[in-house]
């Protein structure tokens, strides 16, 4: 039997009973669209979390340690020289203050940062320019502020670049605006050279946080381990100290945070997909039901076809093709509906939550994401369901005895 004949037979059989075919397709449409909507929404959530939390900076390592004394610039150099695999290591300290213009005032966190900080965290400039290396190595009275602070101090439409803000009793020039990053710094942050921060804001000469930026292609897990053991040895912090409060070392790569996020989301994703999958299962059972009815109704036809020379495989192929066709058609429609539903759900949830989950001052709309894997999986599931639930009816049809089938009333 030629493929074109098989397709024609499939078409003509499915069209002979349009209502039943449509209802069965509907079952698959519902199942597939539920699965696709869930998967693409969760993938979208994952993507927006990753980019909003700066988790795409997979070469970043956060280093925290304390051994009772201050962390100084020399210590950063020591770590960089002692542990192979870092492009650079940068440090920062943070403090709090009120930033004000002549007319407005806002609570803000202040970060004193050193060379490499902006590029390590992948901060995106939206206006003006970044602090130069020369400025970062000085006590210049220049700051970069994040978009959230810019909005609360200067409003939506005014560029803060070139304006002055006052923190404590000091006036600083705003030279740039960066996107607010929620993973590392809180909303409404002023970034200034480390020295400036140390002298004017915190009065401390210690680094609070250290950020390492790995060389490209570095094995992050091993780098994290090597960094931790180097720091323990060099600064004399035993593992017991962590629990006894004598000191601590905590090293973590963004890659590992992202992995944790993935793991958490994966279990969530699997749960949601399983729930959606149940409707797919029901759709599949609908197909089997329809195909069994089909076989029973067409017993004489099967007998006739066999009498006219159809092999078992021809009959199997014919009935299997009918169920696969239903699944594929249902799958395509369901896929499109699922993506549409995901967008509608995302828009509805963004509207309902409004500003509550605003990240960059804009509402944190989730963009549903349909990956190639999702598409392939959906096609695979459709064909799989077609074969799985169509096989038994097709097998029963093929196995029928031609003599008895022809006699069937």
């Amino acid at each position: 039997m030629r493929i074109s004949d098989l397709l024609y037979e499939t078409w003509s059989a499915l069209m002979a009973n349009k209502g039943r075919t449509m209802l069965t397709i509907l079952g698959i449409v519902i199942g597939i669209s539920a699965v696709i909507a869930m998967t693409s929404l969760i993938d979208g959530v994952k993507n927006s979390l990753v980019s909003q939390l700066g988790l795409d900076q997979s070469r970043v390592v956060y280093i925290y340690y304390w051994n009772g004394s201050e962390t100084r610039a020399e210590d950063l150099t020591t770590i960089q020289e002692g542990v192979e695999g870092y492009e650079f290591i940068t440090g920062m300290q943070s403090g709090y203050g009120k930033a004000s213009t002549d007319v407005k005032q806002a609570d803000t966190s202040v970060m004193g940062v050193s060379k490499g900080f902006f590029s390590a965290l992948g901060m995106k400039l939206t206006d003006g320019r970044m602090l130069t290396d020369a400025e970062l190595n000085s006590d210049a009275m220049v700051v970069v502020i994040d978009s959230s602070l810019a909005r609360s101090l200067f409003g939506e439409d005014v560029s803060p670049v070139g304006e002055q803000i006052e923190i404590g009793n000091d006036r600083y020039s705003v030279i740039g605006v960066v996107e607010a990053s929620s993973m590392f710094a809180s909303q409404g942050t002023v970034y200034m050279p480390w020295q400036t921060c140390s002298i004017r804001v915190t009065g401390s000469t210690s680094f609070d946080q250290i950020v390492g930026y790995a060389l490209e292609g570095e094995d992050m897990e091993s780098l994290v381990q090597r960094t931790e053991s180097f720091i323990r040895q060099r600064f004399n912090i035993a593992e017991e100290d962590d629990t006894e409060g004598q000191g601590y070392v905590y090293v973590q790569s963004i890659a590992s945070i992202q992995e944790e996020l993935n793991t958490t989301l994966l279990s969530f994703q699997m749960l949601m997909t399983a729930v959606a999958g149940i409707s797919l299962l029901v759709g599949g059972i609908g197909i089997m039901n329809m195909m069994l009815t089909n076989v029973t109704e067409r017993i004489r036809e099967i007998g006739l076809r066999k009498a006219l020379g159809a092999h078992r495989s021809d009959i199997t192929a014919q009935f299997l093709m009918e169920s696969v066709a239903i699944c594929l058609v249902g799958g395509i429609i369901g896929f499109l509906l699922g993506v549409a539903a995901a967008w509608v759900l995302a828009a509805a949830s963004a509207g309902a939550l409004g500003g509550m989950v605003s990240v960059n001052g804009e509402s944190a709309a989730v963009t549903p994401y349909v990956s190639g894997t999702t598409v392939l999986t959906a096609i695979g599931i459709c064909a799989g369901i077609g074969v799985l639930f169509g096989f038994w009816p097709a097998y029963r049809a093929a196995k029928l005895d031609p003599v008895e089938s022809l006699r069937h009333q």
Partner: protein, 244 residues
């Protein structure tokens, strides 16, 4: 003349829930090419079983069956399907046309399962077969359930002819037709046999036998000649049991 059918001492025993049923008890028959044979018997005589075996839909329990010299008694299911597709044309009592398909599609159906007919030839062969059974061209694109009974049976005969089979096997082909239509269908079989086709027709209606070259009788799973059948009938009549 060459032999199309050569059946020797055919037995068929069924296993049913009630036990074993010995449906054929040593049937032998020979059919030459171009012959129109009528197999007659009352219901329950085993003629349907014989028809199934002759049509390669069923295998004999024992005995030999040669179709155009090929021993088909021991072939596999798939090989039998191949034989049915290439050498046998079936005509059924209830026509067995696909109602959702057009007349042309119905006639082309056996060619779908035939490995020997190229796709380009299908239409031509179907039209030729339909012309041979006098179906007017305007009906070719009608769905088969829009036809009259006689037309349906003629389409079914066209379907049986389309593969140019060695044997046309008809099972009570006039059972669902009125007598005028029956006559036309039987004349058609006669015409096909005259044109060189081999026809085996199974019936319980004695009038049908008038169109055949030869009639054999089946009773209790055995084949009888006309003389034996007459003797049998005479014996039954003597006991007052014959009712036909």
């Amino acid at each position: 003349m060459s032999r199309v059918l050569d059946v020797v001492n055919l037995h068929r025993i069924y296993e049913t829930k009630a036990g074993l049923t010995h449906a054929l008890r040593g049937v032998s028959l020979v059919v030459e090419r171009g012959e129109f044979l009528c197999i007659m018997g009352p219901s329950g005589s085993g003629k349907s079983t014989l028809m199934n075996v002759l049509g390669c839909l069923d295998r004999p329990t024992s005995g030999t069956y040669r179709l155009e010299g090929l021993d088909v008694a021991t072939l596999s299911d798939d090989d039998l399907a191949e034989i049915r597709s290439s050498r046998i044309g079936f005509v059924f009592q209830s026509f067995n046309l696909l109602t959702r398909a057009t007349v042309l599609r119905n006639v082309m159906l056996p060619l779908v399962y035939s490995s020997t007919c190229p796709k380009s030839e299908r239409l031509e062969r179907a039209v030729r077969a339909l012309v041979a059974v006098n179906i007017p061209e305007e009906l070719f694109d009608h769905r088969s359930n829009e036809l009259s009974g006689g037309q349906m049976q003629r389409v079914a005969i066209a379907r049986a002819l389309v593969n140019d089979p060695a044997l046309i096997l008809a099972d009570e082909p006039t059972g669902n037709l009125d007598s005028a239509t029956s006559e036309r269908v039987l004349s058609l079989f006669r015409k096909l046999a005259d044109a060189g086709k081999t026809v085996v027709l199974i019936t319980h209606d004695p009038e049908v036998a008038m169109y055949a070259d030869r009639t054999i009788y089946i009773r209790d799973g055995k084949s009888l000649t006309a003389e034996e059948e007459q003797a049998h009938v005479a014996a039954l009549q003597a006991r007052g049991q014959y009712a036909n």
